[in-house]
Homo-oligomer: 316 residues x 2
Amino acid sequence: MSIKATIAVHGGAGSMSYFINEEHRQRYLRGLVEAVNAGLEASRRGNALDMVVDAVSIMEFDGSYDAGKGSVLDLYGEVEQDAGVMWGKDLSVGAVASVRHVINAIKLARIVMEKTDHVLIVGEGAEELAKHFGLWVPSIELINEAKINRYNSLIKNLGSRYRKNVDLAKELGFMDTVGAVAIDKDGNLAAATSTGGTILKWPGRVGDSPLPGAGYWAENGVCAVSATGIGEFIIRAMASFRVATLVKGGVKISEAVKQVVNYVTELFGPGNIGLIAIDSRGNVASAFNTEVMGRAWSQEGLGKVIVAHYPGDPFP
Amino acid sequence: MSIKATIAVHGGAGSMSYFINEEHRQRYLRGLVEAVNAGLEASRRGNALDMVVDAVSIMEFDGSYDAGKGSVLDLYGEVEQDAGVMWGKDLSVGAVASVRHVINAIKLARIVMEKTDHVLIVGEGAEELAKHFGLWVPSIELINEAKINRYNSLIKNLGSRYRKNVDLAKELGFMDTVGAVAIDKDGNLAAATSTGGTILKWPGRVGDSPLPGAGYWAENGVCAVSATGIGEFIIRAMASFRVATLVKGGVKISEAVKQVVNYVTELFGPGNIGLIAIDSRGNVASAFNTEVMGRAWSQEGLGKVIVAHYPGDPFP
């Protein structure tokens, strides 16, 4: 069976209050289309790994998402990003966490995968690697006046609420994480996830996004998954690997993502997870228990990008 | 059915060349017995979480293991520890990674679990937390003359071999990680893993030990698992969660650990993983594909500690 190169992306699961206005929301949705197009473009000269890395890089560079340039500030007013990528052909993984001085954390994650024999590198060690490979940027590239103003107004009334950062993130209307899953014409699967994490998080806090099995998984012959939401719950549910385990056991991809979202809702309540996934035949699926999740997909020859935001929107 | 409090620990899977001499090996095995006894002692006043944290703390403090005081030095000559703990009753997880200024990283991991609403905190952010809770120590507590001498002699002839740190670790005779799994009289399961990581690792490199699903897993009614070996392979195999998935599917614990070690061997070759595990009825099991793995176990009322080192040694 010949496979058509197919890609799906998400721009985070969360609440409508994340959006400053309708223009912001439209910009957010437009970025998803651009990311899918970048992924399809990559499929013409590369494989599924190129597709997901290029798609996520577009969203990291966009500034409309909590990833890359758009990353929220932590409790110290710093940007700290987490990202991970997985190549389903040989289960290779590359990831970085708590990284300050890069715009495209996902490209740095790919460097960990391809240029070191490690899987996960965090903090200054990862920034050192970024310098070696020309990805290091000064903080000024990641912090703008709007972020500083928001930080100042939040921190003023924060008191000891920082101790419950997860509750705080919900209250402030989070829209965590971007991600992509893809299959190439050779049937290889890949997944990538990148995030700025939860706003006002404790410095060094790492969510699900860089952790394989939690924030993403890709395994040829099975599926590729990218997660978004509140990382702490996604990790404890091993959400992405759990989807893969179900699919391996014969569950349809659309059913598997629903079952895992239901599992998380039962364990930890609603409003904390979204998933996109693609199986080894190119079937795309999504599920979430938040108010909204921006998502988009397309495939070779389809000639358009399908974008969705609300739960009822047709997707795929 | 009444459950007897039961604990099993490991002191790392690896090669005999790790041991400087027989005295070193005996000290290593004696520490496992002390750890099991500390776990049993904890069971009298606490639960399975207390048991695994106390057992691992003993090994971190001992200095004979690649964890806590015994942690190997990284490429910059620093100690960087990773640790994680999981409480099977509610799937709570606490973990720290790339932490320099603590002796008992496992206690700091427990603080992440119980005193923050995060799961994983890395680097300086974790050290900041250590200061708040009185766990911070100066580097001098973790670095001694023997380590400095070994570092100097290795680094002199290193050249660019640091790029292949995983190969290097094998060559130098690694004995990575300590861990514990336990069940208490109420049937609660817990797992804990702690490590200094691979010698001469890239700063910020994180292995499987702090990552739930990879280096450990605990789920009431299913099992608790702690892994050791070369983290990169253990992560990519999702070894601990994979054991739990098998046990949930009806596979016996002794068979499940074997199947996962075989899976890792098939994927990545031999010499990279060891597992200890305990199921919800208190059955203990271990498996490894390295030359040796120090392991010990006991239970309430047994009156002795069973310790094993070679593959053929009776265990449990």
